[in-house]
Structures are given as C-alpha cells and as structure tokens.
C-alpha cells in the first residue's frame, strides 16, 4: 500500500472558498438538469399521463433492476441550441436482469418525441457506447419521427441509426426495441432492425406510411391499427415478437428478453472487497480553485477516488507537471495521468508516452484527469523539440487500445486536450466537472492573441490602432470564448457524456469501468512511428 497523504484542510479559508464556488456551479448545473427532467413541461407531461402512459424515466425505472444504479448520459444535449435541453431523448447505462445495457427512451412529451439534430447525435453516441463496450441496447421507442423543419441536418446522417442497429446485431450485441407509441416512417426501422421487438397493444404504431400517406400514394383506405398496430404485427406481419397488453407488461417482457440473452460479461464486476478512499469525497468540492489560474495537486483528487487512496506513482521526479501512476478503482486496475502544474513540457510528454505504452502492455485501462493549459511554447521549448514530444504523447494516446476514461476537472486547453485524450481521441467515456473549461486556449489568451495580430496588421498598414475598439473587442471575444468553454455548452454539443458532481466521480468511473469490462480489455501492440 502506498497511501497518498493529504494536505487538504476542510477548515481552511481557501478550501471553503473553493467549495462555495463549486456549490454555486453545482446549483446552476442542477437547474439545467431540472430542465432535462421536466421534459416537455407540465402541460405535455400531464397530457401524456392522462393517456395512461409512463414518462421515459418511469419506463427506464421499471425496466432496470430494483435498487440498481443508473448512469444517465448526455443529459444536457442540445443545451444552448434552439431545442429543449435533453434533446427529447433519455440515454444511459442500466442493469436489466443483472445485465448492463445501454438504454434509450424517447421523451414523447417533448414535441412528440421528434428527433432533432441533437437527438440524433445523442442516439448515435449511445449506439457507439453499446458497440465499443459490447453492451446490449434496449430502445424504448415513442417518437413522432424526424423534426421536419430541421430535416436537412437529420435525414442524411440519420441513416446511421439503423445501420448501427444491424451492425450491433452482426457484432453479436443484442438489440431490443420496445414500442410504446409512434414509430413510423424511418422510425419503423428501429423495431425493424432490432433483434427483439415488443409492441404495446393499441398503442404501438409501426408503419412506413400512415393512413393519409397511403391514401395519397395508392388511394387505399386504411386505419392505424391495420397498418401498424401491435396486434397486426404480432399476428400478421410478424414484426412484433412479443405482444404486450400494456406498458408495464412491455417492460416485463423486455426484462424477460434480456434475462434470456444468456449474456456473459467477460470481465469482472466491481470488487465488493475494494476499500473506499481514505479521505472524504465531500472534500472534492474544495480542491479545484474557482480561478483555474491557481494550480492544484491532482493527487488530492486521486486520493479521494481510488481504492484505499492507494497510488503508486511512476516517475514522480521526472516531468513533475504530469502525475502518472497505478491504482485501483472499485477493484479495477487503472493507470492514471493527471496534470499537476497545467503545462506539459517535453519531459511530461515523453513520460506520458511511455506510461501509455506500459498500460497497453499490461492491458490496463487509463484514466486522464485534465487540468492543462496545453504544451509549453517559447523558443527554448520549440528548440527542445516540444512538437516532437507532444506528438509522441498524441501518437501513444491515439493508438492506445486499452479503454480510456477522461475527466475534465479544470482547464483542458489546446493540444493538451488532445494529448490528455480529449473527445476526438475517443475515450470510452468523458465527463466534466462543473469547474472545467475547454477551448483552443484560455479566453484572455485568445482575445490577447487576436488583439496582437490586429495591432500588427494595423502597424503593417501604417494605420493608427483604435485602443478603445480593441478593448471592446477583447472583452467581447473573451466573454464569447468563456461562454463557449463552459461545461454546459460543451455538454450541449455532445463533447462530453455529462457534467458530474465531483463527489460522484468514483461512482461514475466505477459504473463506466464495469460497463467497459463487457468488452475485452486489450492493449495495443503497434503505434505510429514515434518521432525521436
């Protein structure tokens, strides 16, 4: 055991200050989450209930095992867009009859559950999680189809939804569609492409063309039930494998389907004998300063999320601006890379590249804890080969095949975001703390760079530089970049899988590691050419 020591003093004024700042951000996050939970608002929720129907989260609660945890993903999807927060879809990872599944549920209280561009992004992300982690996918369907005014952004990429379903099936990953209501036109291919289907009596409507379209196309008079009712599909077309008498019965049937998948998880579950961290999770609220310019020691975070606060550091004296080392989290071995001083120098980059290769040799998943302002710039560093060394780190992280988990604790700027396995580097899961910020660079730096460039341009043209205008533009740019680097904004664009309470980090990562172990964990044996 190498138990990390702590310097955190919960009674210290700076701790209290950091904590107060974090609690403010958590309250703001709760308010945004509340929007997602509210769905289409009281009026549409009431109308839905009056029809005797369950809300999407009620359906999920009935589907998953009693008292089991449920990790909702991308709850802030569409935040900052013209569409409601949550994007009319609930997705997450839940346990059904002991089997971890990716579950999606349309929210019919939000514009009839119609898919907008963010709904599509969110659904595709859920499919990706199912495929990467070999998790059965259960879709709880009730959607009016595509949001027609935004069809240009949905129609062409949207085909991937159906492609994914059959690819999952081909990969041996079971897919289940439970249809509670409309699932028409393109939506009809959700049950159509799934391994298992359940349709709810007198509720499910699954057809390519409804009565008006049929009438227009062929002149035939037909009603909903004969075109796409559950009874018809169960008795006549054969599209319905199971005929559910009501919503609860449909969820019961879905549970029976999963129970009969005979799903075997190749990896272990969380270890019941794992020791909890030695330090209180509550203290995670007081570690990240409100001002990200002030560095903090990520070992204080590691000490509060890993088993027994037990962390064996790799090369602690070399490249000290990046802490690397080995730990376990709910019993799962992990290699951790955590920014310690913000900036990545050549030594840190080379250390990271070596560490990532070691983890791959041992088939150990990696956890990236972000608080970086990026790779060091300047004459000495450029001449010292910072590009080559940063490239080595990015090469290693790009070609590493062990599962990666990323948590944005503070800053995640520039190429540092890439080297620390940012979104484009396809970590299996990426979460942000409310304190995180991510952009090409810090807002002040970015505004300053723009100002210098403008000043140079004016000087080159021999024009006088308008300092007042410059100040105004800098302030505006700074404000815009600040807003666009905040977690809710990035989460709204599906650049993470959710913004989490720092105190939930250990639980969230435990759930993710457990989900990840449904697929083999195998390290890479080859990389791109390392530029030495």
């Amino acid at each position: 055991m190498t138990v990390l020591p702590t310097r955190v003093d919960p009674a210290a004024p700076d701790h209290a200050e950091h904590r107060a700042a974090m609690l403010d951000k958590l309250a703001a996050l709760d308010a945004e989450h509340a929007k997602a939970l509210a769905g289409g608002g009281p009026k549409y929720v009431e109308r839905h209930r009056a029809r005797g129907k369950l809300l999407p989260r009620e359906r999920i609660e009935l589907l998953i095992d009693e008292d089991s945890p449920f990790l909702e993903l991308s709850p802030l999807a569409a935040w900052g867009s013209d569409y409601p927060v949550g994007a009319a879809l609930v997705t997450g990872i839940g346990v059904v009859e002991g089997v971890e599944c990716v579950i999606t549920a349309n929210d019919p209280t939000v514009r009839g559950g119609a898919s907008n561009p963010w709904t599509l992004r969110k659904a595709l992300r859920a499919n990706e999680i199912a495929l990467d982690n070999r998790l059965p996918l259960v879709n709880l369907v009730e959607s009016g189809g595509a949001d027609l005014p935004s069809q240009k952004e949905i129609f062409i990429p949207g085909g991937a939804l159906f492609r994914d379903l059959t690819r999952l099936s081909a990969a041996g990953i079971p897919t289940v569609a439970v249809v509670f209501g409309n699932s028409t036109a393109g939506g009809a291919y959700v049950p159509g492409m799934s391994d298992h289907t359940v349709l709810v009596k007198e509720r499910a409507k699954v057809f390519l063309g409804g009565p008006p379209l049929v009438k227009m196309a062929t002149g035939e008079e037909a009603d909903d039930e004969s075109l796409g009712g559950a009874e018809m599909h169960a008795r006549t077309s054969g599209l319905a494998d199971h005929f559910a008498v009501d919503e609860a019965d449909a969820l019961r049937l879905a549970r029976r389907i999963v129970a009969r998948l005979d799903h075997r998880k190749p990896g272990p579950g969380p270890d019941a004998s794992a020791e909890p961290p030695k330090y209180a999770e509550e203290e995670l609220l007081g570690i990240v300063p409100g001002d990200l310019k002030v560095p903090f020691d990520p070992r204080e975070v590691i000490a509060r999320i890993v088993d027994g606060s037990d962390f064996d550091e790799f090369k602690p004296l070399y490249g000290p601006s990046l802490a690397t080392g080995w730990a376990r989290l709910h019993g799962y071995p992990v290699g951790i890379l955590a920014n310690a001083q913000g900036v990545l120098f050549s030594a840190e980059s080379q250390k990271a590249a070596q560490f990532i290769q070691l983890a791959n040799q041992r088939n150990t998943p990696l956890l990236f804890l972000h608080n970086t302002t990026g790779y060091m710039v300047g004459k000495d560093y450029e001449q010292g080969g910072i590009i080559k060394h940063g490239a080595m780190m990015i090469n290693a992280v790009s070609n590493s095949t062990v599962p990666h988990l990323s948590v944005l604790m503070g800053a995640s700027y520039g190429a540092g975001h890439y080297g620390m396995c940012g979104r484009a580097y396809e970590p299996r899961f990426l979460f942000a703390w409310p304190s995180a910020k991510s952009a090409v660079m810090g807002p002040q730096q970015l505004a300053g760079v723009l100002s210098i460039v403008a000043r140079q341009s004016a000087a080159a043209k021999g024009r006088p530089y308008d300092e007042d205008a410059d100040a105004a533009i800098r302030a505006m740019v700074e404000q815009q970049i600040e807003a666009e680097s905040l977690p809710a904004f990035l989460s709204g664009r599906l650049y993470d899988d959710g913004v989490i309470d720092p105190r939930d980090t250990r639980t969230v990562l435990g759930l993710c590691l457990s989900a990840i172990h449904n697929a083999p964990v195998e390290g890479a044996r080859g990389y791109g050419v390392f530029r030495m």
């Binding site: 945890p69 019965d249 969820l251 019961r252 969380p270 270890d271 639980t507």
Partner: protein, 641 residues
C-alpha cells in the same frame, strides 16, 4: 403396568403425553394421517402407524384402525388425548375389549356426561346447580344460548337475542350438530353474557378418592372456544371457590368417575354458579394447573389407569399460571383459519418441565412445517408461571410477542394485547371479553406497518446491493418504489432514495437509516434507534421489532397478465371443503344469494353472489378441498349478459 402407550391423537397433545412416557420409561406409539406423516409427534414416537387419508373421519376418528394399530405395534394402553375419540364411550369400550388399558374414565362415566341434557338432569339430582334447559323460552329468558346436546368445543353453539330468530337458529344448530356429532339434539338455556367460565380440575382414582385439583378461569373465548386460560381463577371469594370444588367433586362422585376430568361452570357476577358440563378427558389447558400444583397430570392419569391410589389430598397451589393458545387464524377476519408453510417457529423457553417455574411451550409444530386445513389450527400453547398474576401475564405477553413466528397469520397480536389489556390485568374477565375489547385487540397499527414496510424495502435493497451505491442516479427523477400487502389486506407503498445525505423516504421525514443488511435494518426515528429484523421467504416478509411482528407480502413489480381474475369471479375466502352447492350453472342469481357453502374449521361459510346476474361457471362440488384463493364460481352481472 403400562409398557407401551399409543396416543390416539396428534400435534401438541401427542407430544405432551410422549414426554411423560419418556420420563416414566414407557415406550410410545403414534398414529398419523397422511398429511401428518412428517409431523413431530410421529418422529418423536418409538413407533408410528399410518392411518390412510387426511380427513379426521378417515383417520383420527377411526377407532377400529387405532385399536388395530395398538395391537399391531405392541402397545398395551391407549391415551386418547383431547378431541377426536377422547369422549367416545364406544371407543373406550373397544380399547378395553381388545384387552388394552384405557387411559380415561370408565365408558359408563363418559356416557353419563355425553349428553349435556342428560348430564344436567343427573347433576341436578346430585344437588349441583344447573341452568335449566328451557323447553319453552320466553321473552324474559333472552338472550339464549342454543347448544348441541352432544357438542363440545363451541360447535353447534349459537347466541340468540330475539325469539323471532330462534326457530331458524335451532334449525341451523341442528344441522351443524348432526354433521359434527351425529346427533341433532339441541337445547336452549339462558345466556349470561357477562358470566365467567370457571372450571375445576378433577382427578379420581378407582379407590374412591376424588381430588379437586384447583380451578381455572377460561373466560377469554372466541366463538365459544378458549384462547387464554389461567389457574387459579382470579378473584374468587373463598366460599365460592370451596362451593365450586365441592360441586365438582359431587359431580364426579355421582357418576363414579375415574381419571382426569373437568367440571365446567358458568359463574355469574353475583357469585352464583351453574354447572355447564363435564369433560371426561384431559383438557387443553391442563398445563396451567400443572404449573401451579407441580403435578404431572398425564403421569397421574397413567397411574390411575394402572390402578394406583391417589394420596388423600392434592398438593396446594402456588403462584399463578396463564396459558395462551396460539392459533393459525386471522382475528381481524372473524378468526378465519390460515394455512400454509410455517417457515419459522421459535420461542425461547427456559424450562420444559411440567412444574416449570417460568415458561413452558407445548407445540405441535416446528419450523418448516405445513399448516393444513384438515385439523385444528392451534399451533402451540405457551404457559407462563409467576408468583403473581400480573407477573405471569407480563412474562407470557413478552414471550409470545418475541416468538419468531414466520408463516400463516396467527392470533399472536391479539393474545399479546389481551394479556396487556388493563381490563385483563384488573381481572375483569367474562366470556364476552374478547368481543367487548375487539377494537383495542385488533386495531391495526398503521404507523408500525409503514415502518415495517420501510424496513422490508431497505433489507431488500441491502440484499440487492452491489459495490456501487444502491439506486444511485446522477439525475434523480423519482424514488425507488416497493409495494407490500399487509395482513389486513391493505397495501403499503414504500418510496425511498438513498442519497449522499442518507435515506429520503416519503412519509418518514424524521427517519434516518443507521445501517442495513438483508436480515436487519436499524433506523433512527428522531432520537430513537430501533432495530428491525427482516426475514424473507419468497414474497413473504416478516419484520420483527420488540413491539411485535409485521407480516408483509411483497407485491411483484409486474402483474402476471395471465393471473388476473375476471370480475365476478368468486375465490375461496379460506381453505376448506365445499360442503354444499346451492345453485347451478345458468341460474339467475341475486346479489347476496348463497351459491355454495364452504366448511372450514368447524364453521360453515357462505359464498354469495356479488351482484345480480347469471352463474356462468361453477367449479365447486361437495367434498372438494379448496385452498385460499381457489376459483369457485363466476357470476356474470346481468347488465353484461
């Protein structure tokens, strides 16, 4: 000398007699019906003989088979226990005719007391006060009690409060009596609603000695069956006690009685008493007398049967003893019998001796056994002795309350509440006690039930717990919901979440979860910490606290769509036997019309049409054994026909 005793009975009394045999060195032979093949009394006997079938008429009432069994097994004596053939003079004679020792009174004495009307005449002649059988009851005689002459155990007994009801009740009593006792002779006497049931234990030898071995009060009754008994009868003036003992001895002498018997009296508030009947056998409640006298009445029965002499006088009584009869029945539903698996039956009893100065348990059941509808629903008798009555009541209530009893509904709660009731502790006893205080004794404890359901849900959550937090949500939208049916038919819904701040449960704002495992949940209500022990058997859940046990049934999350009963379906309200059918398929029926009758636990229950309509299905034929919830008939309401 008796060397091998056959007990022609089952359950606790068979085990009770065997215990004495073991102490005396007498070998034991049991008999058993098919459902009792695995019963404790069978296992504990040296030998056991099967009586094929289940119904008493095929088994424990078959004197011929039992005599044959005794001869085959090498028994040289037969003890009848109580009930069944214990007061059957023909059986006693058959035992004697087979050359076996009969552990009971002479057949003639049984005969003399067999008819209550004849016994009344005999007793009146001997100078014992009796309540006259009324040939022509008048308004002044009301209320009346209609009784079967050959009856016992409350069967065929009815209270009548208006003369208009009388002819109907007599007819009904006659039908019940004919069925139960083979004789439809019934009679009427005055009913004393506030009278006490006081009885005198008799023991007589064949040499002319008759003991009055103390008295008992058995006033706490339901359906004319005793529930709580005690010795000595409290609060009797010495003169009354002496007179009762004298009358009992006179009654025994009048019929040349030998063996153990009991003279029962009805004692009015003014101290006057009347002879009710004489039971020519060992009584269920004999242990209270044993506890206060230190006698082993069964050993005395055997000694007397062997021709031994009693000493001149019985030992004096010492202290107080109270017995509670634990029945598998539901006091909240007219004491209807309950059946099923008795998963657990544990009662801490420090002493087993018959002179036990403390607690005694006489039980016929054990953990894992099954309570069938075939026989009496009494599970056990718990007897407490203490120097004072109040101390005995306290000790008994506590023992019964703390018994681990997981299985069919029982009258345990009623017993505990009765034993702790101020009127009981003040000795204000009368045969209407349980009815008078029914509200106090059976009122549901809603708060207790809600907390028990919460504990059950949390134990279940602990059982399902993984290393990750139970029921964790990053976006909580609703609580975990678990539903439990309570024994009174209600439903308790538990809505809770386990959060970083702890338990949040609807309706329990001041309750904190201290710890939980699948077997135990500790909650803090305000400042009070309480521990709930939780035992689960499939969907059956039993939650125990020091206040008692709450039985719950977990409601499945999903209804089985195939198991939903049609409206108008009539399900058996209790396990029993279809005694008669009063309608046929296709009949038009009116709401409330009896369609069939179900006999269970000595009572005939009517199953009535729920609405006007047509009887479209009838699945009952006389003699069919049905379990609780069996579909019996379907009535299609007329507006739907």
């Amino acid at each position: 000398m008796i060397t091998n005793l056959l007990v022609a009975n089952r359950g606790e009394i068979a085990r009770r007699v065997f215990r004495t045999c073991r102490a005396l060195g007498v070998a034991t032979t049991a008999v058993h019906s098919d459902p009792d093949a695995g019963a404790p009394h069978v296992r504990e006997a040296d030998a056991a003989v099967r009586l094929p079938g289940a119904a008493p008429a095929e088994t424990y009432l078959r004197g011929d088979l039992i005599v044959r069994a005794a001869l085959d097994a090498g028994a040289d004596a037969v003890h009848p226990g109580y009930g069944f053939l214990s007061e059957d003079a023909g059986f006693a004679q058959a035992v004697l005719d087979a050359g076996l020792v009969w552990v009971g009174p002479p057949p003639a004495a049984i005969c003399a007391m067999g008819s209550k009307t004849a016994a009344k005449r005999l007793m009146a002649q001997a100078g014992v006060p009796v309540l006259d059988a009324l040939a022509q009851p008048t308004e002044a005689d009301l209320p009346l009690l209609v009784k079967a002459a050959a009856g016992g155990g409350g069967r065929g007994m009815r209270v009548v409060r208006s003369l208009a009801e009388l002819p109907g009740e007599i007819e009904a009593a006659k039908a019940e009596a004919a069925k139960a006792f083979g004789s439809d002779e019934v009679f009427c006497e005055r009913y004393l609603p506030t009278g006490r049931h006081v009885e005198v234990q008799l023991m007589a030898d064949a040499h002319g000695t008759v003991w009055a071995v103390g008295d008992r009060d058995c006033s706490l009754q339901r359906r004319h069956q005793k529930v709580i008994e005690e010795a000595p009868a409290p609060g009797l003036p010495d003169a009354v006690r002496t007179a009762l003992h004298g009358a009992a001895v006179a009654a025994a002498r009048a019929i040349g009685y030998v063996g153990a018997g009991t003279a029962e009296f009805l004692l009015a508030e003014d101290g006057r008493f009347h002879f009710l009947e004489m039971n020519t056998r060992l009584q269920v409640e004999h242990p209270v007398t044993e506890a206060v006298t230190g006698l082993d009445l069964v050993a005395l029965q055997l000694a007397v049967a062997e021709g031994e002499k009693l000493s001149a006088a019985p030992p004096p009584t010492n202290g107080c003893a109270i017995e509670a009869r634990l029945y598998a029945e539901d006091p909240a539903h007219d004491h209807r019998p309950a059946t099923g698996t008795l998963h657990r039956f544990e009662l801490t009893v420090p002493h087993q001796e018959f002179d036990g100065r403390g607690l005694r348990l006489d039980s016929g059941v054990e953990s894992g056994g099954t309570i069938t509808p075939h026989y009496d629903a009494m599970l056990a008798k718990v007897i407490a002795w203490a120097p004072t009555r109040a101390a005995a009541a306290r000790r008994l209530a506590d023992a019964v309350a703390r018994a681990r009893l997981h299985g069919p509904t029982t009258n345990r709660e009623l017993l505990v509440r009765a034993l702790r009731h101020p009127a009981f502790l003040e000795g204000r006893l009368h045969t209407g006690f349980l009815a008078e205080h029914a509200a106090d004794l059976t009122a549901p404890d809603d708060k207790g039930a809600a907390r028990a359901a919460l504990a059950a849900a949390l134990a279940d959550a602990a059982e399902r717990r993984t290393p990750l937090p139970s029921g964790w949500r990053n976006l909580p939208s609703q609580p975990q919901v678990k539903r439990y049916r309570t024994s009174d038919g209600g439903e308790s819904q538990v809505r809770y979440r386990l959060t970083r701040q702890g338990l949040q449960a609807d309706g329990h704002p001041d309750t904190e979860l201290v710890e939980h495992t699948p077997e135990s949940v500790a909650l803090r209500h305000g400042t009070i910490r309480r521990t709930y022990r939780v035992a689960r058997y499939g969907t059956e859940v039993f939650v125990e606290t020091s206040d008692g046990t709450t039985a719950l049934t977990a409601v499945p999350r999903f209804a089985d769509p195939t198991a939903q009963a049609e409206p108008g379906a009539l399900l058996a309200p209790m396990p029993g036997t279809v005694s008669r059918v009063a309608a046929a398929v296709g009949d038009a029926v009116t709401a409330g019309q009896p369609l069939l009758f179900l006999e269970a636990m000595k009572m005939e229950h009517r199953v009535v049409a729920p609405a006007d309509g047509t009887l479209v299905e009838l699945l009952a034929t006389p003699g069919r054994q049905v379990e609780l919830g069996t579909l019996l008939a379907v009535v299609k309401p007329s507006q739907e026909v």
